[in-house]
Structure formats: C-alpha cells, structure tokens
C-alpha cells in the first residue's frame, strides 16, 4: 500500500471502495499523522478527532456515497462548522461556534467526507501576520497563505485534501510554495455561505481546494460545486462532470502566454526557467502557445487591492472601533487603511476591473484561447525571519490577483523547484466557468511529469515513522 503520507484522494477512494481500507482505519492513520507532524508544522487550529472517528464508523456501515466517502479533509478556519470553533485566525472571534455548517462543508459531509479539523490561516485572511505554520520543504520558509494550514497538511499527508478561500491568491499561493495543487474555481461556483464575512472581500472571494493531484482537485470540486440560494453570489449554472474529459489530453489546445506582464524584473530566474520548461512540455503534448498582450493588467493589482481593502474595512468598522486591541497590529493597520480610501479611488478600481474583464474576454475570443498559462507566483517562498508581511505577502500575488477580478477559474500545479529546493507552481487560467479545461490541461501536464510525486524532503526525513 502507498504510504499514507503519499496517499491522494483518488487512490484512497479506490482502497475504501474495494474494502481494502475502512474509513475508520484511514481516519485513525490520518489522526496519527497529525499527532506526529503538528508539533513541527502547526497546520491545524483544532483537530476534531472524536467527531471524525464517529463519522468514519457511521460511514463504514452505510452505502458508498462516492469518491469522497470516508476521506479525511481539513477546512480553513473561516468555514463555520457546527462541531468546532471558527475563529478566522483572530482573537476577535475567539471561541465563536456557529450552529450550522458552511455550505461547502455541508456538501463535503453530504458526499461522505470526514471533516478532520480546522486549519491555520492568516488573521482574517489579510496576510498581515506571520502564522505559526511551517513549510515542510524547509521549516524556515513561509508556507503560503492565507490558507496556510491547508497546503501544508496536504503536502505532508495530515489531510488528503483541504478547503480554502482565495481572494487574491490564498489557495494558489500556498499550493505553489508547498508543491500541491490549488484550484480557485470560477466566481460563484462554490457557495461562500457560512464563511466568515470579515475574512473576505465578497466581490473577489472564491472557495477553492488544495489537493495532491489534479484528479483529486476534480473530485473535491465536484462535491462542493453548485447553486446555493443562501449565497447571493452563487452562480446558477450547470455543474459539469469534472472527471469526464480529464484524460482527454490537450492536442490543439490554444494556450495564451503574456510575457509582457508575467515576466520581467519581478520574476525570479529559477521560477522563470521552470515555467518556460513547463510551456515546452505543454507544446510537446500538442498545445499551441499563443503570445498575447494584456496591457490593462498593469491596473490589476492597484484595482484589486483597493477593492479588497475597501470591502474588508466595511466588515470591520464596528469591531475596530470597539475592540481594536484584539487585532494584530498589522491587520488593524490594513483595515484602517481600507477605511481611509477615497470613494474616487474605489470607483476607479471598479472601472479598471471592468476594463480588465473586457480586455481579457476579448483576447480569449479573438485568439480562440482555451486557457492562459503563467507562473503562479513571481518567486518561490521566502524566509520567515526576513519576512515583512505588510509588503511581502502582497508582492507575491501580482499573477494570481487578476483572476479574482475577472472571476475566471485558475489553478496552480507543481512544475519544479528552485535551486535551494523550494517548489514552484504553474498557473492555468481558464474561460469563465470552464474549470473542465483548466483541469484537463493540468492533468495532461501532471501525467507527463513527476513533480506531484515528490514529497517534502524535510517531511520524509522526519515523518517516515508515521507513513503507515
């Protein structure tokens, strides 16, 4: 049997379905893995051992519900769960327990998943503090965020998949720096109902997934997607069968590349080289690379940042006046900044968003693009001891942030390592509501490469004893 730390959702599902493994056994193994790894990586805020085992026991005695039946999944600590506190990484919400599950969590449970714990995030997903979580590829390095625990837990096998949210890159960034697959589906595809509003900019926010493989991303997305009338942003669109065309390949796919924005002085040379190699691989697989220009993207970070700051500040106006000292200072300053922005700037940001959306849509149409491919981040991870969150977390997301403005699906897949051995991500950006093509391209690349089969060396050295 594959060691647990190396087990993905699809392989575990096969074992569970065949009876070679029970949900209780898998849950117990995952809990042991958590127990051994948590003192080192700190991915969880709360582990729901008893409820998880109780659920697993019940699942072992019920008919198979599908590929998530009995699969242990972690969720970011901003998804409300009826059986554990939801604190969004902040003292403001210390001890807060909601009486209902978030929409995405409810769908996970309906699909038979075992919610194993709540995972560490930046305070209110703002990226202004340094979380306790460590990157298993090098414990001195940033694990990404704001879904910090999600990427790490998947990378070391203390969960088989994780739910996160992505307002500017908060799923794709941790995926890129932990060597996992991070999928931000199209805007509105997955319900935001039951997530903490104060940890969100609603017009930019997306629920997403962190998994070991693209196939696992398809399985997890399938379970949580679909219209939710409790979420005003939820899209009323048919959810396709994400697994159907997964293996269909990418012959004759037209993939846009835009070096005018996704290269240049911001781009780390190791990242640039790995992504260029990935482009060649996509070409060898039959795709056609189409050079494009997207000049309006120079407005993406200013516009998205302005919108994010303003939308977050609105949610915190009362708390910050009444309980300012319960925030970390960095988060508080960011929220104060958002409250000071002039209306004219916010209005210009929304016009810029419309401009970017129109230009991207027209380029996709004119060039008949199936997707756009870019580096996920301009750099790999950075040393925690040198990190200045107020500056550095923002500097990592110029390539991810535009797609929160446009609402297009975007996924990060592992595509190499820097010279010091830190993971690098390739980003695939699809047409609106077309996660299928994004997944198909990612799967075609994954099938021909071995990056997703490489495991955190620090983890392997230290965690061999819990590989089951």
């Amino acid at each position: 049997m594959t060691a647990l730390g190396h087990l993905g959702i699809s392989e575990a599902a096969r074992l569970l379905h065949s009876g070679a493994l029970s949900a209780v056994e898998l849950t117990e193994m995952t809990l042991r893995r958590i127990e051994m790894t948590e003192p080192i990586v700190h991915a969880y805020t709360c582990v729901m051992s008893e409820r998880a085992l109780e659920t697993a026991r019940r699942l072992d005695n019920t008919p198979w519900r599908g590929p998530l039946h009995g699969i242990p999944i972690g969720v970011k600590d901003l998804f409300c769960t009826e059986d554990a506190p939801t604190e969004a990484g902040s003292r403001i919400l210390a001890g807060f327990v909601c009486r209902h599950d978030a929409g995405a969590v409810r769908r996970l449970r309906d699909a038979g998943a075992v919610v194993i714990g709540k995972q560490v995030m930046h305070e209110f997903a703002a990226g202004q503090n340094v979380p306790p979580t460590r990157n298993p590829w090098n414990l001195e390095y940033y694990p990404g965020g704001s879904t910090a625990g999600g990427g790490v837990s998947v990378a070391i096998g203390s969960s088989l998949g994780a739910l996160g949210t992505d307002t500017g890159g908060s799923v794709r960034k941790p995926a890129s720096v932990t060597g996992t697959v991070g999928l931000k589906p199209a805007y509105g595809r997955v319900s935001l109902h039951g997530t903490i509003r104060a940890a969100s900019a609603p017009s930019l926010d997306h629920v997403g997934t962190l998994t070991r493989t693209v196939k696992d991303a398809a399985l997890l997305l399938q379970a949580i997607s679909g219209r939710d009338t409790d979420d005003e942003h939820s899209v009323d669109a048919v959810v396709p069968d994400y697994a159907r065309d997964l293996e269909a390949g990418i012959k004759d796919c037209r993939l846009g590349v835009a070096p005018g924005y996704f290269a240049g002085p911001l781009l780390d040379p190791d990242v640039g080289a790995a992504v260029e190699e990935a482009f060649y691989m996509l070409q060898r697989l039959g795709a056609k690379l189409v050079p494009i220009e997207l000049p309006s993207l120079k407005l993406a970070v200013p516009a998205a940042t302005t919108i994010l700051l303003a939308e977050m500040a609105i949610a915190h106006r009362e708390w910050i006046a009444e309980r300012p000292y319960e925030y970390g200072q960095g988060t508080r300053v960011m929220l104060e900044l958002g409250a000071l922005l002039p209306c004219a700037q916010i209005e210009r940001a929304n016009r810029a968003r419309a401009l970017i959306r129109a230009e991207v849509a027209e380029t996709f149409r004119r060039e008949r693009l199936d997707a756009l491919v870019t580096p996920t981040l301009p750099c790999a991870s950075m040393r925690l001891c040198e990190m200045r969150p107020a500056v550095d977390t923002a500097s990592m997301i110029p390539y991810t942030f535009p797609w929160n403005l446009t609402g297009q699906p975007a996924m990060s897949v592992p595509c190499g390592f820097t010279s010091p051995g830190l993971p690098i991500g390739l980003q695939i950006v699809g047409r609106l509501l077309d996660e299928q093509t994004v997944l198909r391209i990612g799967r075609a690349y994954e099938r021909e490469t071995a990056w997703h089969e490489m495991f955190a060396h620090m983890g392997a050295a230290r965690f061999d004893g819990v590989s089951d």
Binding site: Y187, G188, S203, V235, L266, K298, L299, V301, P302, A303, T305, T306, L309, A321, P324, Q329, G330, R332, V333, M334, E336, L337, A339, L340, L341, Q345, E347, R348, A349, N350, R351, A352, R353, A354, L355, R357, A358, V360, A361, F364, R365, A390, V391, A394, S395, P398, T406, G407, Q408, R431, L432
Partner: protein, 83 residues
C-alpha cells in the same frame, strides 16, 4: 510625537509591486490622524507611523490606476458576460 512626526517613504523603494510612475509621498502622522478624523475613525496613536507608511505605499502603488484614462469605461462588475 515630534521624534516620529515625519515619515518619509519612497514608493518604489519599499515595495516590489508592479510598474507605474514612482512618486514620492511624504505623510506625517498628523496628516494621517487628520484623515482619520475626516473619516470618523478613531485611529490608535501607536498605529499612526505604520499607517502613514502603509498609506504612502498604497498611494504609490495605485498611481497607475489614478493616472489611467478610465472615463470611457462603464462601471460594470457583473460576471455573466466575462471571458
């Protein structure tokens, strides 16, 4: 307050955010405190230096947005007719 009254931040020096002109902003903590009053915010005194720096960085970063000619762009933030 005099010791830290004047905060100078050069936009590009302290940020790697993309492109655009490179304006220099000088903001004092008094400027920021005054802005807070205008916005009916009670800003903590210990935040004013950091907030002045953050505001200066933000203003530098949004310079391309404020310079752009967006007068002909309609305000439309729906997603239905996107890419």
């Amino acid at each position: 307050m005099d010791d830290w009254n004047r905060v100078e931040v050069v936009g590009r020096e302290d940020t790697t955010l993309p492109r655009g002109r490179e304006p220099e902003f000088e903001l004092t903590v008094d400027d920021v405190a005054r802005l807070g009053k205008l916005a009916s915010l009670h800003l903590l005194e210990e935040d004013l230096v950091l907030l002045a720096e953050a505001l200066a960085r933000h203003l530098a970063m949004v310079a391309p947005l404020m310079d752009a000619d967006l007068t002909q762009v309609p305000l439309d933030v729906t997603f239905e007719d996107g890419a």
